[in-house]
Every structure is written in structure tokens, then in C-alpha cells.
């Protein structure tokens, strides 16, 4: 039990660090953009289009189900002899904390619009708490992510949402109103 707690703590701690780093960078970018009201909408539009591209790439790359275990990855083995693999877990945590998954980018956009860097950091700390809760039950749910139906539905849904963000982003880049009313 103790080694598992150590791995999980290292993983989550480094993941939190990655989130906070991203939150700070997102806020700085947002502050820079707010000084230039003209390009601000362009930046938001560009991020929306980028998010759409990330979603489409995820949908395309998930066409093959990963059927083998990832336990033999070299990444997992970092520091395994000296400190029972905690460094490896931390490295994975930092990388997953910085990985630009779609909800992460959407949260970054939101944080960039907040009033201060403290607010942005707090926002991402709460985002971390909200997303970390899902680690607990997901530990026993490997069978679901290998289910063909779940993966197909997820891929189709990602394409739909990507199309939405593409339209919104294109609208902002072209200077059109983002609202149909």
C-alpha cells in the first residue's frame, strides 16, 4: 500500500505543478493579449481553431485501440532502483499535467481571461482537484477504454465538438459575431 501511495503522490504532485505552470503562462498570455484589444479576439479565435485541430487529431489517432500494457515503458522505470520509481511517476505526472488535452486548453482560455495571476493559479488548482478525483475509479476501468463502442462514440463526439470550435474560431478570426441572435 505504501509504495502505491508514494507513486500516486509523486504523480499527482508533479501533475499539479504542471497545471500551475500552465495556468501562470496562460494568464501572462492573456494579460498580454488584453493590452491589445484588437488581436485579443484573433488570439481567442486562433486558440479555438487550435483546440479544434487537437480534437480532430485525437479522434484520428484513437482509431487503434492500445491493447498492450504500458508497464514496460522506459519512462516508468526512471529512478526505479534508487527511490522505488517515484521519480518516474513524477515525470509522468508532470508530462500529463502539461499535455494539451482539449479540456485543458479550454481551461487555459478561461484562465487567461481572469483578473490576476493568483486567480488563474487558483482556477487551475481547482481544475486539478476536479480532474484528480477521476483517478480513483479509473484505476479499475481499463476494460471500458478498450471497448470498441466507447472509443467510437468518443471519436465521433470529438469530431462534432471540433467542428463547433472550428466554426467559433473561424468566426472570431474573420471578425464575425459569435452569436446567432
Amino acid at each position: 500500500m505504501r509504495p502505491h501511495v508514494r507513486y500516486l503522490s509523486a504523480f499527482l504532485g508533479a501533475r499539479l505543478l504542471g497545471y500551475l505552470l500552465f495556468g501562470a503562462v496562460a494568464w501572462e498570455l492573456g494579460k498580454l493579449a488584453s493590452l491589445l484589444p484588437g488581436p485579443r479576439l484573433m488570439l481567442m479565435g486562433a486558440v479555438d481553431v487550435s483546440l479544434a485541430c487537437v480534437l480532430l487529431w485525437y479522434a484520428y489517432s484513437a482509431r487503434q485501440i492500445c491493447g498492450h500494457s504500458c508497464g514496460d515503458s522506459k519512462l516508468v522505470e526512471i529512478g526505479a532502483k534508487k527511490n522505488s520509481g517515484a521519480v518516474g511517476a513524477a515525470a509522468l505526472g508532470l508530462l500529463t499535467g502539461l499535455s494539451l488535452c482539449p479540456p485543458f486548453v479550454a481551461a487555459g482560455i478561461r484562465a487567461s481571461q481572469l483578473g490576476s495571476v493568483v486567480a488563474a493559479l487558483l482556477f487551475f488548482a481547482c481544475f486539478f482537484v476536479g480532474t484528480s478525483i477521476w483517478f480513483v475509479p479509473l484505476a479499475g476501468m481499463g476494460c471500458i477504454v478498450r471497448n470498441q463502442a466507447v472509443i467510437t462514440v468518443a471519436r465521433m463526439a470529438m469530431v462534432l465538438i471540433a467542428v463547433y470550435y472550428l466554426l467559433m474560431g473561424a468566426g472570431l478570426l474573420l471578425g464575425r459575431k459569435a452569436n446567432g441572435y
Partner: protein
């Protein structure tokens, strides 16, 4: 017959009963249940509850509570003002409104009231200069129509509604 089969037939029979009772009982019962949940339509559509009313002779101006967007809604925060009844309004309205009820005027709202109820409405909103400081709370509007939920003037039944966007803090 096994117990499971008996239960199955009982449930099947109950669905027939439910079907017959739907127009007379079930539909109303479920509807009352939904109403009892005390849900409300999103204030972005409804404009929020009224918080104060100012009488202006034959007509009145109702001020609604400020509405703020939820989640990733693209609308801006706004406050809705209602002029009613329309048939008591003069041909041109230019009123100073104290929105937050602090005794100080906040904005001046000006619009024409056409005789044709389907005619397009246009509104000008000017934040009022208070002791050489422009009101920091409300956005100015120049010849605005019905652009978006948070920035419009429309006629709804016997009222003219104006939604004034709030400036960001």
C-alpha cells in the same frame, strides 16, 4: 406460473393502465412534479427578476437584477429595464435611470416609440457623468437594435425592454 412471469405480466398490465390514465392523471401529476422542482428559465432569456419599479407618471420603469453568464456562455453580463405600458409612452423617451437604487442616476436611455408595433426599435444609452467620473459600470450603446441577448431593445407584449451590458470589473 413462475413469480417472475407473474410480475412481468403485472407490470405489462400496469403499463396499459398507465396509458389510459395519462391524459387524465399522469401527465398532470408529472407536470406538477416538474413545477415543484422550482426550476427557472435561464435569466439570459428571461431577463432576471424585477428588483425595483420607478413610476414616471403614466408609465413605469422596472429594473431587473443584473444577469451574469454561466459557464462558457458567450454573452456579456447585463441589466434589463422595462418600460410599460407602451401605449402610455411618449413618442420619444429619454429617461435617466438609477439602476442600483443608490439615489444617483446611472444612465440615460433614449429611444423613439413608433406607432407601428412591428417597427424596428433603436436605443442610445449613455452612462452618466458623476462628479467628472464616467460611470464605470454600464456600457454605452449608440443606435443599438437587437444585436444579442445582452445588448438589445425589443418590444415584448405591452413593454419595451432594454438590456444594457455591464462593463467588465
Amino acid at each position: 406460473m413462475k413469480l417472475r412471469a407473474k410480475l412481468g405480466y403485472t407490470a405489462a398490465g400496469l403499463t396499459v393502465l398507465a396509458a389510459l390514465l395519462t391524459p387524465f392523471l399522469l401527465m398532470g401529476m408529472f407536470a406538477k412534479g416538474i413545477v415543484a422542482l422550482r426550476l427557472h428559465v435561464d435569466e439570459m432569456y428571461s431577463g432576471g427578476p424585477k428588483v425595483r419599479i420607478f413610476e414616471h407618471g403614466a408609465y413605469s420603469i422596472a429594473v431587473h437584477r443584473a444577469v451574469y453568464p454561466h459557464m462558457l456562455q458567450t454573452e456579456k453580463p447585463f441589466v434589463q429595464l422595462d418600460w410599460s405600458p407602451v401605449n402610455a409612452l411618449p413618442a420619444h423617451v429619454s429617461d435617466v435611470v438609477d439602476i442600483d437604487g443608490d439615489g444617483q442616476p446611472d444612465i440615460r436611455v433614449s429611444f423613439d416609440v413608433p406607432k407601428d408595433p412591428k417597427a424596428q426599435l433603436r436605443v442610445d444609452v449613455e452612462p452618466i457623468d458623476q462628479v467628472n467620473q464616467v460611470s464605470a459600470k454600464y456600457q454605452a450603446m449608440r443606435n443599438a437594435g437587437k444585436e444579442k441577448y445582452s445588448r438589445l431593445i425589443v418590444r415584448v407584449d405591452n413593454s419595451i425592454l432594454v438590456r444594457v451590458p455591464l462593463k467588465k470589473p
